[in-house]
């Protein structure tokens, strides 16, 4: 029996949006049977019941007091045991913090091969193996991989698949007992520090800076621009390239790109960003793109609608002044 399984993630007692996307990705692979969902945690009943309404084949509940919070060693042990019990032919996880922490090590333990950050999936009718489509080379190419092993393993990029719709019949509910204990913990948590982070994907306009700012103070100028734009555009936030984070100018929650946030605001303003491909893939779907850079040949102008080739310090103050006047 072939079974497509997804690893669900829970937010505030409900399956999160990525889980619903995974469910539709999994359903498409399940040949009409519907895919199954597995939830892990110390209390998963509420999320499992809500997920059942989406008509999955089966909802597996892996509940254990030690699965409270996310301790990777314990979660990995539990997931490995659940996979050995269920024997899914395919296991999909989100390309999320949890999926990327567990996926590689799970693949190692199950002697299977994982493909990460997939944007399309299908089954090769010849051999039943998963065809895993993934952007590579920072997004410069799209590659299709096929690997041996069972389960066939992939992490799936968010916002690519449409979330699943509620189904006709509720899925079966199955409890899976796992044996985990504190001796499995190799990495001990000392503290979790919650930081106030920006949610760039909620911005109407993102004003982003990169290496071309030359110094951390450049972001003060960008903040002035953001403030001037707020009067007309509402939610305006500050973004940045990876280099700006590397240099310690700004915190990583502002980072746009492959390893930062992928966004598509109404307007993206790139200041002093040359446009490495891993940055471009994170903002290229913005509705309008405006770039200010001293190098006319740089990548960012290739994806921009409007460009200014000049030092941003000679442009931004005058721009702010004019915007104040007009708005």
């Amino acid at each position: 029996m072939t079974e497509v399984l997804i690893l669900g993630e829970i937010k505030d007692g409900s399956p999160d949006l990525r889980t619903l996307e995974l469910l539709s990705a999994g359903n498409a692979l399940s040949n009409g049977a519907g895919c199954s969902i597995l939830f892990m945690g110390d209390s998963v009943a509420e999320a499992a019941n809500k997920a059942a309404a989406y008509g999955p084949h089966t909802v597996y509940r892996v509940e254990h007091p030690l699965l409270k919070g996310f301790q990777p060693d314990l979660w990995l042990g539990a997931l490995e045991q659940a996979c050995r019990r269920i024997h899914p032919s395919v296991l999909l996880m989100g390309h999320s913090f949890v999926g990327m922490d567990l996926g590689p090590r799970l693949a190692c333990r199950l002697n299977s091969r994982l493909t990460t950050d997939c944007i399309d999936l299908s089954i090769d009718p010849e051999d039943g193996l998963l065809l895993r489509t993934k952007p590579v080379s920072g997004g410069n190419a799209i590659s299709v991989f096929k690997c041996p092993g069972q389960p066939q393993l992939a992490t799936v990029r968010g916002k690519v698949f449409a979330p699943a719709e509620p189904g006709d019949r509720p899925g079966d509910m199955v409890d899976i007992q796992v044996e985990i204990d504190p001796s499995m913990i190799r990495v001990e948590s000392i503290e979790i520090v919650e930081e106030e982070t920006v949610s760039l994907d909620k911005a109407n306009v993102v004003v982003a800076g990169g290496a071309g700012l030359g110094e951390a103070d450049g972001f003060e100028l960008l903040e002035e621009l953001a403030a001037a734009l707020r009067k007309s555009f509402g939610n305006v936030m500050i973004g940045c390239s990876r280099v700006a984070v590397d240099k310690g100018w700004i915190s990583s929650d502002h980072q746009v790109g492959l390893t930062g946030t992928m966004i598509s605001p109404d307007i993206y303003v790139a200041v002093g960003i040359s446009g490495a491909i891993q940055h471009l893939v994170g903002m290229v779907h913005s509705k309008k793109i405006i770039a200010i850079n001293t190098d006319p040949a740089c990548n960012i102008f290739k994806v921009a609608d409007y460009g200014i080739v000049e030092d941003y310090e000679d442009i931004v103050p005058a721009l702010v002044e004019k915007l104040e006047e007009l708005s």
């Binding site: 990777p72 999320s96 922490d101 590689p104 090590r105 190692c108 091969r113 994982l114 990460t116 590579v136 080379s137 920072g138 410069n140 190419a141 799209i142 590659s143 299709v144 991989f145 096929k146 190799r186 990495v187 001990e188 948590s189 000392i190 503290e191 979790i192 930081e195 734009l229 007309s232 280099v243 984070v245 590397d246 240099k247 310690g248 990583s252 492959l258 390893t259 307007i267 490495a276 491909i277 891993q278 471009l280 309008k288 405006i290 770039a291 990548n299 290739k302 609608d305 409007y306 460009g307 200014i308 000049e310 030092d311 000679d314 442009i315 931004v316 005058a318 721009l319 915007l323 708005s327």
Partner: protein
């Protein structure tokens, strides 16, 4: 604990910051062709920086490992210029286009051959295939505690303490060494290396050891290549850029008008 022994795994890749025009896809040969200089993968540079800071603080030894069919020691000698003590290349015809699992398996063998270490550091993912697996696979194969996405690494009483990035902020975690840590860019960029120092290291007489698959005890037959069945260019992302003309103030005013029209 007195001195720390760190192994940093660094991959040589074509510069991922290269202009788009330097990248093309050969769909027949299933190859991405990047006409750009070779560099150390950016997150691996972050890992090296973390290692150099640790040994600056407490003394110790850094060994850099780099695996490939042919690794340019010119590119990797940068790690020595930055403060690594030793560079070992893992070179073999059979190391071409390995999948993540086989790459990690070969690195694990080389690390076992080195034997003596407290910490293994890798970048969170490589800038060419962006798979993000080798570090954790390697840790699992070596049976080490694994910590991903380090923003900061310190050593306290024989344990490694890591500020690990999580969606809500960060988590401070601790593991007994030896341990494996994958490093994210928040650690900071690799220190500046003067041209003189770089040239001195590149032209230096120092010979760099190169180990083959057999020398690290890897059965070449057991290695698996990346199984690519198709490769294509991404959809065209290009737009026609309308450039503002004139003096800076004029351009700024024109841009302000563009904003107002988009309101």
């Amino acid at each position: 604990m007195t001195e720390i022994r760190i192994i940093v795994c660094a991959k040589q890749i074509p510069d991922p910051e290269a202009p788009l025009s330097d990248v093309s896809v050969d769909a027949e040969k299933l190859e991405v062709i990047v006409d750009a200089p070779q560099v150390i993968s950016p997150f691996d540079e972050n890992a090296l920086e973390a290692a150099v800071r640790l040994t600056e603080d407490m003394g110790g030894k850094i060994t850099v490992l780099s695996l490939g069919k042919k690794v340019s020691d010119t590119v990797l000698r940068k790690s020595l210029a930055a403060g690594a003590d030793e560079l070992i290349l893992l070179e073999d015809d059979q190391f071409e286009k390995l999948d993540s699992h086989s790459t990690a398996a070969a690195l694990a063998k080389a690390i076992q051959k080195i034997g003596d270490y407290d910490l293994v550091l890798t970048g969170r993912q490589a800038g060419d295939w962006d798979s993000g697996q080798v570090g954790l696979l390697l840790g699992e194969m070596l049976g080490l505690p694994c910590i991903s996405l380090a923003r900061d690494i310190t050593i306290e009483d024989g344990s490694v303490v890591v500020k690990k990035g999580i969606p809500e902020g960060y988590e401070r975690v601790k593991a007994k060494m030896p341990a494996l840590v994958t490093v994210s860019n928040e650690v900071g960029e690799l220190r500046y290396i003067s041209r003189t120092r770089m040239l001195k290291m590149i032209q230096g007489a120092r010979s760099i050891p190169s180990w083959s698959a057999l020398e690290i005890g890897v059965n070449p037959e057991a290695l698996q290549k990346m199984a690519i069945t198709a490769l294509s260019s991404p959809p065209d992302m290009g737009r026609d850029c309308q450039f503002m003309e004139g003096a800076p103030k004029e351009m700024a005013e024109k841009l302000a008008a563009v904003f107002m029209a988009l309101k």
